[in-house]
Symmetry: D2
Subunit: 380 residues, 4 copies
């Protein structure tokens, strides 16, 4: 095992998610940030890189330059993989170029601007031999892993009902008109794609459902809303969902749920047990059972599964949060990549990848399609 | 003001809701239970009445007998009103007979077995001069009254989104096959009507939305589920809703949400503020605001409205619950009826009545209609 | 079984606890309020009684008159027992007179103004054959009964540590100078005795510890505080406690804990299990175990003991609160008294009585004694 | 600003706190671990270093060797500071040697084995010009910073009461007899000093009180307990405290509070406001006020102070936890040290240091002294 070398595309000053990726990549000491094309303008890329203590010659003006130059560096110096942390419209090109130039990829979600791009990227990735991680971070929370273990162990039984919500309020006002960078690109279809809140957080809710239940959402009926003044993209949505085993559910998301911070919560009900997890207090998994009272699991607490513990770093009662869950993707990616580099080509990823990315884009398209057709049921 | 005399139809031994009505009617010392037709068999009616310390001669064999005999009693002895606490199929007839014989009515929800009965009862009630209360109890919780005040004061602003759920798990198994009385009639369309969980608790969720927002649900798209073995009626449902002002929402209910006890929770989001209330810990109203942090209101706590305080009996920090909220209906009904008896005919009810009952039946029918038509949007 | 007839001393207009006692006595339909000496002035007593629909001739000018006249009434008319809901200095005399005139007693806590009175009352009660209930209401909460069952069943094991607090903030300011009746008498040693917050709520905390553990507090070291301007009595206290089995603990109370409403909370730790209960959300009992995760019990929920269920009236998930717990004392007293009246003299009370009252006064005196002696350990 | 170079003493395989320090040091990308004496045996030190990707020649056999060799390295290569993460008895010697050899120090708490060592170390540190950080991590939690700001702004007013508890249950059984390394040294006075749970977590509670109130605990009365079989050191304690301004309080700690994970909670009550913070859900600060309802602050949430925000890394609703708070010490130490290295000698530390370390040892000694003298009040 050796330290891996990461390049970054995007994440310059003012970026929220860029710093999240950097912290996540540092946390376990397995990855060094060695280069980057941090911004769309060369000056700001350089300035951002400098603040990150990156040598000047590895602060690139754009991602094309980065790939061109990095691939010429000696094997023990050049970056191993790239982290793509730009807005959605700038995912496909750099991801494609990375794969075509032999670099592994960590990419933010949603995977691409369009479903077409997603399917194209899937082909490229599959035909390459390279690793691809998509940062749907919530499944990497220890208590979601615990819930997943319980589903796999048939402790929950046949799943019947799912209630999931992802509620934020930060776009309750026209924040995009104030110059706030995060808001501006998210309400712009050229940068976000056809989904607004849908792509930004609805996809997280969908991904979490499919991960934790292990069941595909096969059909949905969506009612998207645009409440913010002059919004072109949805900023709210309510969706009926049906899972492949016959379970039904309700998925609600919003960025105009005034006062909500990052209220992602999921409840899954089977015929033997059920559970609820809330992202804002992620160190508890509430479980319910046919024949015993409600039971609370905690990371590294009593009876917590070995899998869940492997997504936690410290003893029970010492809260871990968003960054640690995010870091689990980088940690597991780094372990996987190290195995890969050492020749163990059949080790399996335990982080989301291309398939989850395609599912996410399909979910976005099905929701928009349904909503435009009076909430007709649409297959996904 | 004098003590009012109540007769009861239903509520014999083994009934859950009958005892709730009795406790609720006693709590404030304004009502005496004086007679009843407590059961469908004369023997059990007598036995139940005896346990309630009702004189033998006022334990009636059936409601017809009760109305016939009570109306012949002297004015200072005969019952003033009847509480109908039977299963749904036994609401219409006694309510009709009560009104036709000059007795006021408190009736459990849903108001009737069918929409036709509801509309017929509405006519009868309107043409009479008598009072009619429907025990949709949740709006009588002090913190829902607080929320309602905030909406009325325009503190919440224009409402945009509602997320409501009413989740129970007690029908996760085939409880109806074990002889459990509560379960048996609720899964039987002859006694419950066309809605199962929908009629039993979905109507509570719908009623709460309309009460607290003051807005009608004008359209809905429903996906009802039947998960219990051999169930004829729904035991689960997910519903998209649209309110008359353009707000959208999600309404989910279930009696197969394994392990849930009585998890009714509602969140309402406006463009100035938002709030969340959870029935299982009803003494907190979480509110959120554009320009100040999350604030928690409590019954009789600081800044709680006078209206909310009038639905509470004891100082802040002394929890009140389900029974106290239920009792508020009886208390307000008793005050209203006393006013009525003293000739103040224009005092207004502050408890639910016929109109809410009709709305509830319309909601049930619209959900079933939508669900049978592939979740098409249906007007309500 | 018949309906019992209650007289009330105190509880006139403006009283908080009087109305609590009345609601509690009504809730289960076993008791009628038939007479009262509701106030220290005859006019207000009459006025209060009228508002309660008590016949004029049974609204007495003072308790002496009440006992004199009631005892002359026919057996099927005169009151069976008296509820004493006056400030502390007015407990002893009416209790004594009640017992001496053959009336059973329900008395508010603390039992008397002084320890001497308490010991005297104990003698009187013991030499009589009459029933005496003291309204330490918190042990009657279903989840405290559940905890008590677990201790009795040795599920908690050897108890090692107790942490209890009873925090209120309503005397943070000089409320007693505003004419607020509740505040005025509580800060007046002539009406409250030698304990302020200590007597008012410290005794509840102490009583709860002894009830739920079944262990006596044998020694304590107290540091009382007087933070309110010109207060003569304590309004705050922190106490080290030692239980008879060697367990240790911490007991803190306050009425100047600004913003706290009625925050009574207790945690008990044994060598096999532990639990926490919070009065402000009383329908949860959090339990912890050596070999299984944290488990939440609820009234009438799965695995809740039969004893706990007998202190609850409605299905799990339907919150009960302060009034229902208070009513359990009246209910159990009424059952016991009915048994007594029917000749079953050996049925045992399951509500607090004289012994708990004496313990409470001993606790007050030990705390004051310790605090005045630089927090020396004092036996109790 | 440049990346700082850290050496580590202790923290070899099996250590809990060593890994915490490493993660904390990595999180913000300001510090590289470059060398270490990770264990008391050279082999294990080497093995531990190897797993951490430290070059063999900088894995030292013991701390003496580390200081000797590192100080000879070129300025741009040798470590800048040392992190001491050994059990308590191994703090003083390496800290002293570090300071005497020109290395800055980050040291785990409690600062030393004995009070004498603490006072000696204070002298050494003061006479040196070097930086010294002590990892009392809880004050670095954003919501404690928020609370501290409120106290400084006089929003809380004159502080009157403090209730603090730090409850763990992991030593409920004789874990020290099972070979569990963490347990073994903590119950051994040769390695822990005169305090058991007292030194391990009681000091955190004490430190938190003094930090958040800005007031010294001037007097205390302690009752320490030894509940575990054959324990020589306390595993439980209840302490009365008095603050320098006349406030009083209660401090309780335990490692035999069965089932508790890491339940540190503090409530502070002033005459204008009050607050409560719970470590296990650290992203909420509950505040209460004279004239407005309970208000919840969150990291980076509405109205959160700039200071609090500077201890947080991501938007509101994205939970941060134990590691992030711990990392704030390293981050602030790194900024301070960089300033120092760039010649800004008068920048002030915003992390705990020598003074807090001495206070902690004084607290331990006062508690033991009081407890051995029948809980007499002792000055601190």
């Amino acid at each position: 095992m050796r330290k891996l070398r990461m390049g970054m595309i995007g994440g310059g000053q003012g970026s929220f998610i860029g710093e999240v990726h950097r912290i996540a990549s540092r946390l376990d000491g397995m990855i060094d940030l060695v280069c980057g094309a941090f911004s769309s303008t060369p000056e700001r890329s350089l300035e951002s890189g400098k603040a990150l203590l990156i040598p000047k010659n590895r602060c690139y003006s754009n991602f094309e330059e980065m790939f061109e130059k990095e691939k010429l560096l000696p094997p023990d110096e050049k970056m191993d993989f790239v982290a793509i942390v730009t807005p959605n419209h700038m995912h496909f090109k750099p991801a494609k170029m990375a794969l075509e130039n032999g670099f592994h990829v960590v990419c933010d979600k949603p995977m691409t601007l369009t479903l077409e791009e997603a399917l194209a990227l899937e082909k490229i990735a599959e035909s390459s031999d390279l690793l691809f991680a998509l940062t749907h971070n919530y499944p990497s929370s220890p208590m979601i892993q615990q819930a997943r273990t319980m589903v796999l162990n048939n402790e929950i039984g046949q799943i019947r009902k799912v209630v999931v919500q992802y509620l934020q309020g930060w776009l309750s006002t026209s924040l995009e008109n104030t110059g706030q960078k995060q808001a501006s690109w998210r309400v712009d279809p050229n940068k976000s794609g056809i989904g607004g809140a849908l792509g930004d957080i609805g996809t997280h809710a969908h991904n979490l459902v499919e991960f934790v239940t292990g069941l595909k959402v096969v059909e949905l009926a969506a009612d998207l809303g645009k409440f913010g003044k002059n919004r072109v993209l949805d900023d709210d949505g309510n969706v009926l969902i049906r899972l492949e085993n016959g379970a039904k559910g309700s998925l609600s998301f919003s960025q105009i749920a005034l006062g909500e911070e990052n209220n992602l919560a999921i409840s899954v009900y089977g015929d033997k047990g059920s559970f609820t997890w809330r992202q804002e207090n992620p160190n508890e998994l509430v479980t319910r059972w046919l024949n015993k009272p409600k039971t609370i699991y905690t990371p590294n607490g009593i009876d917590t599964s070995a899998t869940a513990s492997s997504f936690s770093r410290i003893p029970a009662g010492h809260p871990e949060g968003y960054l640690e869950a995010f870091a689990n993707i980088y940690k597991n990616f780094a372990i996987h990549l190290n195995n890969y580099l050492e020749g163990e080509k059949d080790s399996q990823p335990n982080y989301p990848g291309i398939k989850e990315g395609v599912r996410g884009m399909q979910f976005i398209y099905a929701c928009v399609n349904s909503s435009e057709n009076n909430s007709e049921w649409k297959k996904i």
